[in-house]
Symmetry: C2
Subunit: 384 residues, 2 copies
């Protein structure tokens, strides 16, 4: 999704893809086939570009440090920043040291440490047997992978063998999840997007609404300041997404960091003067940042997660016919259950109407059927 | 500019370009090098795509008729439609036969026919010696090329040798120029954009404002109906642009036709729910058409015509820094005086403010200097 904005900005993009069928390889004018964890492949790419950036966090830090050391390309975000999006233990350590609000967390090297965390959590409540904590693998997790909610250290014994250390966190009793994105140039200029609300199911984002409903201006500003402070403290270049928990007592805690365009910012492609992919390119290419202003009072994004229908293009045609103002984005990926294969978005006056339209289109595309409501039945909507 | 929308629509595009440095070839994943008037090159392209469409009018009709006859690809717009954007004499004949409003016109096979037209024009006015008509080459003209305003048949004697027949038109005393765009699918579905005002200098568009100021709803609808009727009568597929003269006595006359995304529609890329390049792709790929609604009360587009500065990228950086809400589009072309090398656009509330911002950016990019106004001098603006 960076390729379109790159053309308009006059930037030449070379994509490193593991194979020609990868989404980013399908639309790019210049593609190198190679693995992101193959040092030679990454160095060969770096050798022919001015700036190296990322659409995921999985390039090993030693490879990136080597590029910086040898001056092969500007790496943006740099490896010293990116590692905080790669390693959740390092992220927690650093954010805590900087005084940024996090859930309670523990470093665990074995099941006994998980039990100790459970003791800590239970001490505050009533029943030790019902105590639960969240355990995360420090690296490689995404979309709910690498996350388990457990009530015993034995529940993650296998992960200690595989990962050595694990991150344990309190189970935050959040009322909703928010996301704050900020773009930052190498020289330090930052531009925040408005804070949005995201909704997740089984660890996967399925819906975003911009701006976050009922967020008062002071809270909005305070969250934007937090995102900006993290971008500055970690020396991030490009887009930073700070995923947050909002609690019933009004606290905001950092959940995860991503240093790239992020799912919670897709709404901006069709709902803001400058979309997040354009903004990321401006930031990493050290171009002046664009206005993040919305083009409508509200914007909504709903993910397309692989369902029962393989022919997404047919579904897209039906959704486009049904709703000419809706934007459908397909990623050119094969359908697998639960896999993110695209998204839809729309912008307008009434957030409830936007949500209804986006979910109707989503079901039509991935399931090939109208919603219950459209079929004349009860207007019940799962998760809505 | 079709490439970005094609990625989001999930369409694979193969570009036929005369060389790898051509704008469209620079960003495309699939490029064939060959000339658009080389039958073998066009047939080889058609053989590997489902739909063939155009970003100019210069593919010879016999080549396109051959593709249709042999069923090599769907040609959209088809050659029987496209010829009316290729040959101005055929266009005038057909529109006149259909009863669509045109300037007075004459077919000329030699200087004597031009003189006869001058006699016709002078008969209505006072002085035969001051009579003037517009003479156009039927084919190959663009941006003022192939157009002369003459007061004698001898002024175009050279063109008769070269072209055989010429189109002679009355010099229309228009008050302003308008443009009406409509998208049409193969099955007949049409969606009009709002009518815009364009301003030209030496036959080259330099500014567009959407919607056309002070155009009453009835006139808007009547012009949209005219564009739709032309699209239907000529069986156009894709985007049709109808460039129009508005006269002091309230008439509207067709000036030119283009069957592709058109300069007067660039505003829609950043100012409408569906930009004209996306809409053209939807139409020629037979996908449901998108909403042409504006995302702001007004949108303005100003062309970047080659000036004194070669480093447009530096100019773009300065303009982006000066105005974060402005969109700069560079076409990756070498700068030559007067050549269209990009455009800027912005959308918002106040059309006068938008025009001022767009022209300020345009001068900064192509001349490398602030406007007179910015420099603290008199606020005089040529053509504004």
């Amino acid at each position: 999704m960076m390729l379109g904005p790159a053309i308009e900005l006059g930037l030449e993009v070379t994509v490193l893809a593991t194979g020609p069928a990868e989404s980013a390889a399908q639309g790019a004018a210049r593609v190198r086939i190679g693995r992101h964890d193959d040092e030679e492949a990454v160095r060969a790419l770096a050798d022919e570009v001015d700036v190296l950036t990322f659409d995921h966090e999985h390039v090993p830090p030693p490879i990136l440090h080597g590029l910086v050391r040898d001056g092969l390309a500007a790496v943006r975000p740099g490896p010293d920043a990116l590692v905080h999006a790669q390693d959740k233990l390092l992220m927690r350590e650093r954010l805590t040291a900087l005084g940024h609000p996090c859930p309670r967390w523990w470093r665990a090297t074995g099941p006994a440490d998980v039990e100790a965390a459970l003791d800590d959590v239970a001490a505050e409540g009533a029943d030790r047997r019902s105590a639960r904590v969240v355990v995360k693998t420090p690296r490689g997790g995404y979309d709910g992978h690498g996350v388990r909610v457990v009530s015993s250290g034995e529940d993650v014994a296998d992960w200690f063998t595989e990962h050595g250390e694990l991150l344990v966190e309190e189970l935050v009793p959040f009322t909703r999840e928010l996301s704050a994105q900020v773009a930052r140039r190498p020289g330090g200029e930052t531009v925040p997007f408005e804070v949005v609300r995201s909704r997740q199911q089984d660890g996967v984002c399925f819906e975003v609404i911009a701006p976050a409903p009922d967020l008062d201006p002071a809270a909005q500003r305070s969250i934007q300041d937090l995102a900006r402070a993290i971008a500055e403290d970690l020396d991030v270049t490009g887009m930073l997404a700070v995923e947050l928990f909002e609690t019933a007592d009004g606290r905001v805690l950092v959940n995860e960091l991503a240093m790239r365009p992020h799912n919670t910012g897709h709404w901006s492609m069709d709902g803001a003067v400058t979309g997040q992919f354009e903004q990321h390119l401006r930031a990493v290419a050290d171009l002046p940042l664009g206005s993040p202003a919305r083009t409508a009072p509200h914007a909504v994004m709903v993910n397309l997660l692989g369902g029962s229908r393989d022919d997404l293009a047919a579904g897209a045609r039906e959704a486009m016919a049904q709703d000419p103002s809706l934007k459908v984005h397909l990623y050119g990926k094969d359908v697998r259950p639960g896999r993110k294969v695209g998204h839809v978005s729309c912008a307008g006056e009434d957030p409830e109407e936007l949500l209804a339209r986006a979910h109707r289109a989503e079901r039509l595309i991935i399931e090939g059927r109208r919603s219950v409501e459209d079929q004349g039945g009860a207007a019940t909507e799962e998760n809505a």
